[in-house]
Symmetry: C2
Subunit: 319 residues, 2 copies
Amino acid sequence: MQTLADVGEKAAVAAILGRLKSSTAVGPGDDAAAIEVGGRYVVASTDIVSRLAHLPGAMAPRDIGWFVAAVNLSDVAAMGARPLGVLLSFCLPRDYLLRDLEAIMEGAQECALSVGTEILGGDTKEGRELVIAGTALGEVGKERVLLRRGARKGDLLAVTGTMGLASAGFAAVTNGINAPEAADAFMRPRPRIREGMALSASGAATSAMDVTDGLAYSVHELSRQSGVHFIVDWEAIPVRPEVLRIAMAVDGSVEDMVLHYGGDYELLFTIRPDMLDAVKGALGDEFSVIGRAEGSENVLMRGGQVSQLESRGYEHFMR
Amino acid sequence: MQTLADVGEKAAVAAILGRLKSSTAVGPGDDAAAIEVGGRYVVASTDIVSRLAHLPGAMAPRDIGWFVAAVNLSDVAAMGARPLGVLLSFCLPRDYLLRDLEAIMEGAQECALSVGTEILGGDTKEGRELVIAGTALGEVGKERVLLRRGARKGDLLAVTGTMGLASAGFAAVTNGINAPEAADAFMRPRPRIREGMALSASGAATSAMDVTDGLAYSVHELSRQSGVHFIVDWEAIPVRPEVLRIAMAVDGSVEDMVLHYGGDYELLFTIRPDMLDAVKGALGDEFSVIGRAEGSENVLMRGGQVSQLESRGYEHFMR
């Protein structure tokens, strides 16, 4: 019989969510579910992290708290929603220090406050290892919600921030390289709430998601859900020099860090080409156009050469 | 330094939630948080279960799914809210069978459908043991929300269903006693959504909570939050004969099963004495008056004798 290690995380999620016949406006498969309440959408998303899968020893309890709140709020940002709050539940070993649990909560609250929201409540139970599940809630006007589907041929493809800094930070932390900015990008991602809300208000975005599992995987996901394909321009992808320095130091691949590893929690979105100025008005310099919806497969253009964009990204259970 | 085993679950939750300065209408400390959206309250509650702490080997994956959905929906019921959906996130060992994960989802969906709602989405990640976190969402009119605070002197104290059957079921399952009805009460608690909504609509309830951690603990909790005390009439507490039979078979205490162990997920609530008929109209025979708010401490009346009602209930981390 098949185990999760045989099929991988994404197939496992697809198998369980595929069985749900959801009647909600936006059901399983987007960054968050959306439910109509009082004429608006309430969006809700859940993410779970375990010490084994996500939390290297270098992360202090306060960082862990920030991280868990951030990855959950990032899904609210990807829907263009205003955050309403975060719920956290913990499984903890019985010898866990109360002081460390308090520090996790402080880090989570710090992240929530940084985007104008707060921790609403939680639950703690005993378990063999530290596991933290978060749920973030938000609200957005029904006609303003940003979904993974909706990109059209000719739309521009864009990202907020830069790519690869979080995975460079992970490489730096695990290899003992001093790179505080990159380490911070990995351990304390900033949920792009302000940018998501501004994009939603601009009316210029046709689709959006957050880049949890790497840029390439996310481009393929927008492609699948919208039914269009993308040309991605390698030279246009914003990458900090720090990423090159760390990649060289650990003998790693810049391309893998930028395209195939996750953790940046930036927003990937498409915009109507005639609305580029509206997006500039909304986001300022905080985004880059990196491609366009055209053609019949997802490709990477680099140094004048065109190659297939591999869809591989970070997958739990498989190694 | 203090560990969670030193302070216990309730002190740990109090320590972390006490640090939150929440601006929401109903923040940490009630069954669910409540946030205003479009003039109504959205309520949200999270509960986490682990194989270690909650899920005896006798529970099949389908039962586990039902159980997790039920304990989360029970909190929505306790607020008098209409359920909007449930999110589930999983930590799973990599050798976990895909078939078993699918069965968990089916059980959860079955429970959600039984109260007119559904599973909205989820997340899976790798962990050392099975951990499932759920979040249930609901909505209720602002003036109709049921809170733990609000009971007044003279109010009647009441419960839905019967007490002790779930803990008797746990005792039966772990001791190999054939008691299908009790086992079902333990493994497949029914979230009292219909009853919570009817109570809310009746306008007769002054406070409410669900009986997760035992009747005695719950009475003390309503007492603390409302600032009144209760006389509980032992003879009026509805107990099925099955509980007596199982308690005798395992040489256990009926009083502990009825008062101090949890798992019944019934609603404990207070009603204005002049509104008893309205509650009968709303709930029919599905509830029992078991006491009254009066006096200056929480007491148990039994065979004409009055004794202190111990506040001990189920506590994680402590043994």
